[in-house]
Amino acid sequence: MNYGKSARSTNAQNWFLHRITGTFLIFLLIVHLWVQHYDHQTATIAVQTVTAEQFEAGTLPTYPDEAVSAVRAQTGNATMEVTPYDVVMQRLSDPVYAVLWKGFNILFLLFALHHGFYGLNNVLSDYIRNDMARAITKVLTWTLALVLLIVGLYSVITAGWNYSP
């Protein structure tokens, strides 16, 4: 084994980023969970939880009145049935509000992908020790990350565009 004879890897930067993304992810996750499940103000919380069977049978959770009426007001349809998709889209189609939320989600996406894929790469390189195979896994995993990033960015950025329920 020729230790250290290989060029310095990009591991130092990646490791450092891993710490930073890790730290930020804690906060991002807390905000995410809070917004998704606990916050009345952003009005996304379902009052009722739906079991898997109910969901299969097509039951939708009931939403607080504020959320339902906000969606209905926006669409001008005072009797429509409100789905979770509608609730999220309503939020993301608001031009001012959406910039904040999209920014948040893009950051979240980037950090989670880097954190997860750097970790995954480490684990894989522990067990895949052939240099060639390592290079291939590395390319493959980061390509996958890139694809997921593109899909993710696409969905986040375009979400709410031309939304009409």
Binding site: Y3, N11, A12, W15, F16, S125, D126
Partner: protein, 236 residues
């Protein structure tokens, strides 16, 4: 009291695979685990093979797996591992290196890694007439790491090393830390070039097994983390 001592035996000239063998050994609570092995070797079965020398935890010869944990046989007492009469103690070689015979492992790779990190003081400035000055605080920074006896208990307890035998491992990188953070050393560039590599620091996932295994109670993970920070700042 009487104990059952179970040992993972392997004789390269006879066996195709390791097997367990048990011995009944008289013991006192204050006997070291090494004393049990010596008793077997001297009085019961001379073919039992293990390394030993100082018998008080300073030479690093007899790191092995005792009841599943990496320990120095000479530095752990019977009373610390068994409850009483008739209990069993198991001995196995350190995991993660090829076994030569019984409890003796091949340390070639372990020392190859040690050599790889340039484990010596690098300082090309002509030295002063007297000693190089180093404050007690600066000395404190490396003192813990200088306690290392190179027994291998840490590296052979490290899941990263088990998974990837090329990984430099805690012992070698602790040496790198000991010299890199020595205020008298000027070789951090060269040395970091080795530890800041694919097989180096970044495979330490702070699992802390090394800290738990170290018979000298060195805070290895802490020092490796410091070395990681040093590597990052050196690149910024």
């Amino acid at each position: 009291m009487k104990l059952t001592v179970k040992i993972k035996r392997y004789n390269p000239e006879k066996d195709t695979a390791p097997h367990w063998q048990s011995y009944e050994v008289p013991a006192e609570p204050l006997d070291s685990a090494l004393a049990l092995l010596l008793h077997i070797k001297w009085h019961i079965d001379g073919t039992l093979t293990f390394r030993k020398s100082c018998a008080h935890g300073i030479c690093g010869s007899d790191a092995m797996q005792i009841n599943g944990e990496n320990k120095l046989a000479c530095s752990i007492l019977v009373q610390d591992i068994v409850k009483g009469d008739g209990d069993t103690i198991t001995f196995a070689p350190l995991p993660g290196s090829p076994v030569i015979k019984d409890l003796v492992i091949d340390q070639t790779r372990f020392f190859e890694k040690y050599r790889a990190v340039m484990p010596w003081l690098i300082n090309n400035t002509p030295p002063p007439e007297k000693e190089r000055i180093q404050s007690p605080e600066d000395f404190d920074l490396i003192e813990d790491a200088t306690k290392c006896i190179m027994c291998g208990a840490c590296t052979h307890s490290c899941p990263s090393t088990w998974a990837d035998p090329d990984y430099l491992g805690p012992a070698a990188m602790l040496k790198a830390y000991r010299y890199t953070l020595d205020t008298r050393d000027e070789g951090s560039d060269e040395r970091l070039g080795v530890v800041d590599s694919k097989e180096g620091l970044w495979k330490c996932y702070t699992i802390f097994n090394c800290v738990q295994a170290c018979p000298k109670e060195i805070d290895i993970t802490r020092w490796l983390s410091a070395l990681k920070r040093k590597s990052v700042t050196a690149r910024l």
